[in-house]
Amino acid sequence: MDKFTELTAIAAPMPTENIDTDQIIPARFLKTIQRTGLGKSAFAAQRYDADGNEKPDFVLNQDPYRHAEILITYDNLGCGSSREHAPWALLDFGIRCVIAPSFADIFFNNCFKNGILPIPLPRQICDELMDDARQGSNSRLTVDLERQVIVRPNGETIPFEVDPFRRHMLLEGLDDIGQTMAHDAEISSFEHRPARAWVPSITIGTVK
């Protein structure tokens, strides 16, 4: 996973609530067995017409936002399906940071696991950042994870919260599994607890 330290980038404003993961990546694109290549299908229904042509009024089809690396939305971003294809599609498009007043739980988690930083900020601040984003290509936002601040084009800084463990993993580009495997002894001793006889093993021959 790529590290996330500091990002200075164009932000795309999407002033919509409840952007669900079916919108971020429709089901018909979930047939892939890879993590990459989904960027061109991100937001497909809003981005392309029935013939596959770009719809000019959709923000990610407009300059400079087709180069956006930050996405700003309204409440409950990423609700619905748990599909990790949603953050994969965003990442493949180029998005490394998503900002919204609130996020759906699974999507929020999935972002961190893919090196995307989700930042919850009050709606009013999201509105201000969207106004910045609308100023066009010179109006970049800087997201500094080390200092936990967003720097606006006017130099103003906006602090944000992030879970210390998640922050550490992102800054170092670490993978959770390796970390957990370091606790192998504790997991093994948990597995040998008595009184779990009612959790039977499922063996291959028994499933038909």
């Binding site: 002033p15 919509t16 609530e17 409840n18 669900d20 079916d22 919108q23 429709p26 089901a27 018909r28 979930l30 047939k31 892939t32 067995i33 890879q34 993590r35 229904a45 029935a50 309204y74 409440d75 409950n76 609700c79 619905g80 399906s81 748990s82 599909r83 990790e84 953050p87 609130s102 759906a104 739980d105 699974i106 988690n109 999935n110 696991k113 893919n114 879970d163 210390p164 463990f165 959770d176 599994i177 957990t180 495997m181 606790h183 504790e186 997991i187 948990f190 597995e191 009184a195 006889a197 009612w198 959790v199 039977p200 093993s201 499922i202 063996t203 291959i204 028994t206 499933v207 038909k208």
Partner: protein, 475 residues
């Protein structure tokens, strides 16, 4: 949290019993009893294991099934769509390589993962259960802590049999009283989502309680917990009781004899203690709930069947007004129109929300002696091969076929536009599934969520209508 006593909720108890270790910042390594795997969200996880040379820690606690991609027509033919076939073949290769028990497409027990788990006794009360699918919350009906995870977490569970998580907040939704005739678990859940909204449960696990919930059979409780995610919650739970034990007893993978008795004793101890602390409490009166449908493109866009579609001018927030307008345009509805009477093109009875035997019986009760309205395509997709078989044993297939319904093989089918069963642009569907998002059932398809009885009523009248009026006629 202002916990001043040692009283614990059902969620707290299951959680505490599965914490392997609490890390410095409060994140827990939580042990997972059952990991269910399907073809869509697992290929990249197995690939990750291979790349890092890791193995599956507990193949004997893992079960795989194919459901999302499978055609629900003739199973003797090969799968036509090459990408769907590749995804299924990839799963088969992975389960063989890592030694994971698997229900293949040709199995008589194959079906939707959230129908198969409880039906087989693979999912049991008191367990922690995960699956790379948000509707894993369904299994919470048994009184297990069950939640959906992403593919990176699937890989994490495969490798370590644990997950990293912080405890959720506790929410209790109580539904007290008795529901009226024609009102089902689906209507209760739609009413709850309509009340708290699609983000109302964010960060919480919802325990469903109250006399109306206790009165539900297991199928109804599964419908309820299934849609917890539509209320934004991480999971839904119902305390295990005698209804639960009667359901679990004798299932293929459930404990037997003495082990079962011991298990029941433990399961009984899981109910929330008197005075346990809930961060959020919501109460609904069962009598006030009437058969409901959704009008818009979010599950919170719920209307009682006698209601009218909202208007953007009803709300002050311009963003919300714009959203209502967009939903109206997408759904092809006029602000202020009555929802009843809206003509439908397709009726879909199926999905992990409402495809169990009890759901099919409820639909058949409405359909019996009637016929699908002219021009309507109506389909029944049982949740599993076993449900299909049992329904045929009761002659339900005949009721549906005689009435002009399609009677199909088990799978996710038209719940999501991923297999051959899809809406075409502009088609309007009364659906027993759980999501009415734009394009969910096929690009530009229009979804109205409702109960199996309401969907059946729409099929025979050709319109969204109040099932109670049909049932009244037959009484």
């Amino acid at each position: 949290m202002p916990v001043t006593n040692s009283s614990r909720t059902l969620f707290d108890k299951i959680w505490d019993d599965h914490v392997v270790e609490r890390l410095e910042d409060g994140t827990c390594i939580l042990y997972i009893d059952r990991h269910l795997v399907h073809e869509v969200t697992s290929p990249q996880a197995f690939e990750g294991l291979r790349l890092s040379g890791r193995r599956v820690r507990r193949p004997d606690a893992t079960v795989a099934v194919v459901d999302h991609n499978v055609p629900t027509s003739d199973r003797s033919k090969p799968i036509e769509e090459p990408q769907s076939r590749l995804q299924i073949e990839t799963l088969e290769k992975n389960v063989a390589e890592f030694g994971i028990p698997y229900f293949p497409l040709r199995s008589a027990s194959q079906g939707i993962v959230h129908v198969v788990g409880p039906e087989q006794g693979i999912s049991l009360p008191g367990m922690t259960i995960v699956c790379g699918d948000s509707h894993t919350s369904t299994h919470g009906a048994l009184g297990s802590l069950a939640f959906g995870i992403g593919t990176s977490e699937v890989e994490h569970v495969l490798a370590t049999q644990t997950i990293l998580q912080k405890p959720a907040k506790n929410m209790r939704v109580s539904v007290e009283g008795k529901v009226g005739p024609g009102v089902t678990a689906k209507d209760i859940m739609l009413a709850i989502i309509g009340r708290i909204g699609t983000a109302g449960g964010t960060g919480h696990v919802i325990e469903f309680a109250g006399s109306a919930i206790r009165d539900l059979d297991m199928a109804g409780r599964m419908t309820l917990c299934n849609m917890s995610i539509e209320a934004g919650a991480r999971a839904g739970l119902v305390a295990p009781d005698e209804t639960t034990f009667a359901y679990v007893k004798g299932r293929p993978f459930a404990p037997k004899d003495e082990a079962f008795e011991q298990a029941c004793e433990y399961w009984r101890s899981l109910a929330s203690d008197e005075g346990a602390y809930f961060d959020t409490e919501v109460t609904l009166a069962a009598e006030e709930i009437i058969p409901s449908v959704t009008w818009g493109t979010s599950p919170q866009d719920v209307l009682p069947i006698d209601g009218s579609v909202p208007s953007p001018s009803d709300v002050a927030d311009p963003a919300r007004a714009a959203q209502i307008q967009r939903a109206l345009d997408y759904m092809g509805l006029e602000a202020g129109q009555k929802i009843a009477g809206t003509p439908v093109d397709v009726v879909f009875i199926g999905s992990c929300t409402n495809s169990r035997l009890e759901d099919l019986r409820a639909a058949a009760d409405v359909v019996r002696g009637r016929h699908v309205a002219e021009g309507v395509r109506a389909m029944i997709v049982p949740g599993s091969g076993l449900v299909k078989h049992a329904a045929e044993g009761e002659g339900l297939d005949k009721v549906f076929l005689d009435a002009g319904f399609e009677w199909r093989e088990a799978g996710c089918s038209m719940c999501l536009g991923m297999n051959p069963d899809r809406l075409t642009p502009g088609q309007r569907c009364a659906s027993t599934s759980n999501r009415n998002f734009e394009g969910r059932q096929g690009p530009e398809g229009r979804t109205h969520l409702c109960s199996p009885a309401m969907a059946a009523a729409a099929a025979v009248t050709g319109r969204l209508c109040d099932v109670r009026e049909l049932v009244k006629e037959t009484v």
